[in-house]
């Protein structure tokens, strides 16, 4: 397991991180995104989705819990923000979905006990500078994290 910490200095940075991460994603991968409201989780998903050349708009799935995007690899974009306990996440069939695509889960905390282990987990947090975000990446797969290090920790 690798862990790196980077600072995103703008929404564009966060999106770029998503694009870099997307290079290493394949069917079956599960990505956890943790962070407060407005930390940039959906922006990161937008970067991943663009990196995988999805023609579809990524939108917040808070209301409907899950969105599906067609791209080079199918992307399932889940959001457990409104869920109160793990039982309510069972309906989403995350295990089944990871069989034919990448599953990205925002606010996974509440349902961690029933969710499969992530391939990558990220923690996004606000900084004193309104535009900056601290992002900690836990890399549980053999991902070329050097490239991300090179880009952000120059």
């Amino acid at each position: 397991m690798d862990k790196i910490e980077i600072t995103s200095k703008s929404e564009l940075d966060t999106k770029l991180l998503g694009k870099l991460v997307s290079n290493y994603l394949e069917v079956g991968d599960i990505v956890f995104l943790n962070g407060d409201l407005g930390a940039g989780k959906t922006k990161l998903v937008e970067g991943i989705s663009e990196g995988l050349e999805s023609p579809q708009t990524t939108k917040s799935p808070t209301f409907v819990l899950i969105h599906e995007y067609a791209s080079k690899i199918k992307i399932y974009h889940c959001d457990l923000y409104r869920i109160k306990n793990e039982h309510e996440a069972i309906d989403l069939n995350i295990d089944e979905k990871s069989e034919d695509g990448i599953v990205i889960i925002e606010w996974p905390e509440i349902a961690k006990s029933i969710l499969p282990s992530p391939s990558i987990e990220m923690y996004l947090s606000h900084c004193d500078n309104d535009n900056y975000r601290k992002i900690i990446i836990y890399n549980y797969k053999d991902m070329g994290i050097d490239e991300i290090n090179k880009e952000f920790n120059k």
């Binding site: 708009t57 939108k59 808070t62 209301f63 409104r82």
Partner: protein, 341 residues
């Protein structure tokens, strides 16, 4: 002719009945908002279970309040998407069962279109505007704003609805809910923010995402801007008096962007009218902005028809029955977008 409309796409089980002239005879809504408020939002599993236990009672209550009998119903309209699959299934299966037993047609309605056609319902205060009588002949610009959607669409000839703009991140109603949470207000956020904002006329500067060159919206940046303001001032001793100012500024930013972009589209698309619909259309400052400042006639459903309800689905069935052909063979479509069938 009486049309029965069934709505169960999200957290309301509702059945409404309208007559052939678009008068709403009954509109029973069994709200789950208390249950979901406890959970801080809508929970799919809880929602579908509630629909099953409510739908028959709600339907019988609608018939009773309209003082009509099963045999008077000539058409059933039911929401088949978008929404939560389990919840939609309850309504669609109930509607199909009724259709088979009564021997009358059942018409699938896109929930988002239902919001739009709520503006065609006749009420005491609300007479149809000229452009509404000519529906299907001239372009009508529609803004549908709710917890899950912010859609700009053109209602064209023969009832065809074309989506031309949507949110790229958070829906307007979702932004209200999340900003309410950031400000420590209750769920649902729309009415709370409106109420708190009424305490002040002051505004602080907050951004507006114009998404220039497109007809799309974005409210995520605005949400983050409110978050940053709270972060900056939360330890200030006057913070509690700053909350109404933030609520007011947030609301003003949302209203400004929704109004300006909708008017631009309406003028460009040579629309004969504008329909403002969806749950967020119950927001008073938004309604007033449209009613007082639009250069083009504006129709907005009355308050109780803005949020999810069965009468709006019945209205969509009634208006479209004469405009469109439809198939009896349909299924639930959780991902339906505005204008799709």
């Amino acid at each position: 002719m009486f049309v029965l409309g069934i709505e169960s796409s999200c957290d309301e089980t509702s059945v409404g009945i309208v007559d052939g002239d678009g008068n709403v005879l009954s509109n029973i809504i069994s709200s789950q908002v208390d249950i979901h408020s406890f959970y801080g939002g809508i929970v799919p599993e809880v929602a579908s279970r509630q629909h099953i236990s409510h739908i028959q009672k709600v339907c019988l209550a609608a018939l009773s309040e309209a003082s009509i009998d099963w045999s008077d119903i000539k058409l059933i309209a039911v929401t088949n998407g978008p929404g939560l699959a389990g919840s939609l299934l309850v309504g669609v299966n109930f509607a199909k069962g009724l259709s088979a037993s009564l021997g009358i047609p059942v018409f699938p309605v896109n929930h988002m279109d239902g919001h739009i056609y709520a503006a065609w319902a006749k009420t005491d205060q609300n007479k149809l505007l000229d452009f509404q009588s000519l529906v299907g002949e001239q372009n009508i610009t529609c803004l549908v704003v709710s917890g899950g959607h912010t859609d700009l669409a053109i209602l064209k000839k023969y009832g065809e609805i074309k989506l031309i703009g949507e949110t790229k991140d958070d829906a307007a109603g979702e932004a209200f809910d999340k900003v309410a949470r950031i400000l420590g207000l209750r769920y649902p956020g729309g009415p709370e923010i409106q109420k708190v904002a009424e305490k002040t006329n002051e505004v602080d500067s907050l951004p507006r995402a114009w998404m220039k060159g497109t007809d799309n919206f974005s409210f995520s940046g605005l949400k983050t801007a409110v978050y940053n303001k709270v972060k900056k001032y939360k330890n200030d001793k006057n913070f509690s008096s700053y909350i109404p100012i933030l609520a007011n500024s947030f609301q003003e930013s949302v209203v400004d962007v929704l109004f300006t972009k909708t008017i631009n589209v309406a003028l460009r698309e040579k629309s004969s009218g504008i329909v403002l619909a969806g749950g967020v259309a119950a927001n008073l400052p938004l309604r007033n902005q449209f009613l007082e400042h639009s250069p083009i006639p504006v129709a907005i459903p009355e308050f109780k028809l803005c949020t999810d309800n069965g009468a709006m689905i019945a209205m969509a069935g009634l208006v479209n029955y004469n405009l469109r052909t439809f198939s009896q063979d349909f299924d639930v479509k959780p991902n339906l977008r505005v204008g799709e069938l």
